[in-house]
Point group: C2
Chain length 346, copies 2
DNA sequence: TTGAAAGCGCTAACAG
DNA sequence: CTGTTAGCGCTTTCAA
């Protein structure tokens, strides 16, 4: 927090008042209190003076007297993930229409970074925050609550605490279930699942959904067929190799980041889908659009989720004492050509 | 700018001072002036008191007394474009290490939105800004200069004004030239160019590079072979159709957004590369990684550009009166399998 | 080594 | 209808 070498001071209401031959109070009213009645002539005179000398209100000064800051924040654990990137674009746009600028932060799945970021945001006294928590550690949200900063938890939930936070997410159990269903319905029975080995509940829920679907079809759950590894293309390649060796006829690609590596491995080693292996992927990264044969994907309602989280945040800024709301969205299957009907097999 | 319904006031240095049995001045020194000597015992007592009652400095209040805001901004014209998204991730991370949070804004190629955004950022008295301008309209930068907010123009330059702004970008002429060279060197002579029909200079420069390369190989420039359209997958498809009808043996795909549409059209209509058409694409979207056969791509040094722009901004915050600097980066060709050597043709 | 006090730019009673 | 004035939370000079 060093003092910047900034030169001369900027234009303030004082300067405008002098220029317009009125008081600073009047200038303040012109720029931040539409209710107050002022002689139109005076109002215009002030506006003209302000325009002439290039006055722009200092939102920071304004906020310490209790006005809103005009800043919202989004803190995500994986900013590079297209799922989040696309939601961010929408949230930023909704926020702007409501008069806010949006600070975007990336915790990179590191709770400690997340803490530092949140502390910095509290310093800024932001008006609200959308948080996709790293490792689902609840501790950091305490900071926001203590400073009465309204927030919405996005996509990743905390176990057993839906009544403590605003929440918007999609049903991970259902996405795992739905993905597996595509394969079961096509007649597959030996179905593997490949995913991320993270401790966050989302991951586990997808596996639960996968297993629930298997059970529903009377297929014995084989833990050997649940592959997990870190979230990288290389890890995906490793799992791709394991899938090829596992002898299954179908697989659920549980996360698009690792799916990419697996598919590259398949391409490199001549495994074709759906002929050699039927595939369903959870997620719709941009690259899925150019890959042939088209993958059957489980699509999350990104647009709806972005809108819901932004609106939930805005309304809980308006009514800070409103009890927390939870919204769980469902996925849909986007059919491609990566699932072979089992009857077509020998 | 309505008054938020926020409840009780937050904890301030006053509260800390009372708790620690000292003055607000001392508390202030503890939290924002490491130089000032204080009895270690006192310093610790203050810190303990602050921790106990959960004090976090109000950066907004701090800034009105001349301290820095702690906020930088990035304003891009196409936030969804992966080229920008990836640079943003890096810039955000560098900024955070320097103690800043970063506000991300999206002008969506609309100069009027850009003006509104910049005005809002000026209101926030941000410490600096990285701007990728919509339509390269210089007018909006005036706002930043008037308020002495250091800024760096990213990627899109203004004609004839490299001495007015800090600038970091890549050499569009060279990328167009380099792309075309790949095809010429392989023996192609009828080479089309497909790109974006925007008035921004970048676009024109790529075409200039393309034409310069042709001339260097003694190939007559045929304006019929320069296709342009809006920046969308559909427009890309249209250009894909035109390319197929044009009878060329090779094409430069000048922007990855439209390239995607063109390639989808090729896939749908059975045109194979490089057998039927040799291709070089400018840009490296994520989807290029999974597309077979691999495209030969012209790669922009995103990492270097992100680092350069962030560092240029930080240093021009330190030294606001330093004369503007321009840094132009060069692209490299990333060879794929999408260029057929002409000698292999009948 | 510390604290009192005068502001920073702005808002909002309150008085005129 | 408009202006005076007392702060908001913080920094920093200056005096003790």
């Amino acid at each position: 927090m060093t003092t910047p070498a900034k030169a001369r001071k900027s234009v303030t209401i004082k300067d405008v008042a002098r220029k317009a031959g009125t008081s600073i109070a009047t200038v303040s009213y012109v720029f931040s209190n539409a209710e107050r009645y002022l002689r139109p002539e005076l109002r215009e005179r002030v506006q003209a003076a302000a325009a002439e000398i290039g006055y722009v209100k200092n939102a920071a000064a304004s906020s310490i007297k209790g006005k809103r800051r005009g800043i919202l924040a989004i803190v995500v654990a994986q900013f590079g993930n297209s799922f989040f990137t696309r939601m961010c674009v929408e949230i930023v746009s909704i926020a702007r229409q409501a008069g806010y600028v949006v600070t975007l932060c990336n915790s990179d799945e590191d709770p400690e970074q997340e803490r530092i970021i949140l502390e910095r945001l509290v310093e800024q006294r932001i008006d609200g925050c959308i948080l996709c928590p790293a490792l689902s550690l609840e501790a950091n949200t305490e900071l926001l609550r203590r400073h009465r900063i309204p927030y919405v938890i996005l996509e990743r939930s905390f176990p057993d605490s839906s009544m403590t936070h605003n929440f918007v997410g999609h049903d991970n159990f259902q996405s795992g279930y739905l993905a597996t269903l595509q394969l079961l319905a096509a007649g597959h029975r030996r179905i593997a699942f490949s995913g991320w080995d993270s401790p966050i509940p989302n991951v586990r829920e997808r596996v639960d959904g996968y297993q629930a679907a298997l059970r529903e079809y009377g297929v014995a759950v084989d833990n050997e067929l649940v592959l997990t590894d870190e979230l990288s293309a290389d890890a995906g390649r490793r799992m791709g190799a394991q899938l090829m060796a596992s002898g299954v006829s179908a697989a659920v690609l549980g996360h698009h980041e690792t799916a990419k590596g697996a598919l590259l491995h398949f391409q490199d080693h001549g495994l074709r889908w759906p002929e050699d292996l039927s595939l369903v992927m959870i997620g719709t990264p941009e690259w899925a659009g150019v890959l042939l044969p088209q993958l059957t994907c489980i699509e999350r309602p990104e647009h709806e989720m972005a809108v819901a989280s932004a609106e939930l945040l805005l309304s809980s800024i308006e009514a800070p004492d409103h009890p927390p709301l939870s919204q769980l969205f469902h996925c849909t299957a986007k059919e491609g050509k990566s699932v072979l009907a089992r009857s077509q097999l020998p």
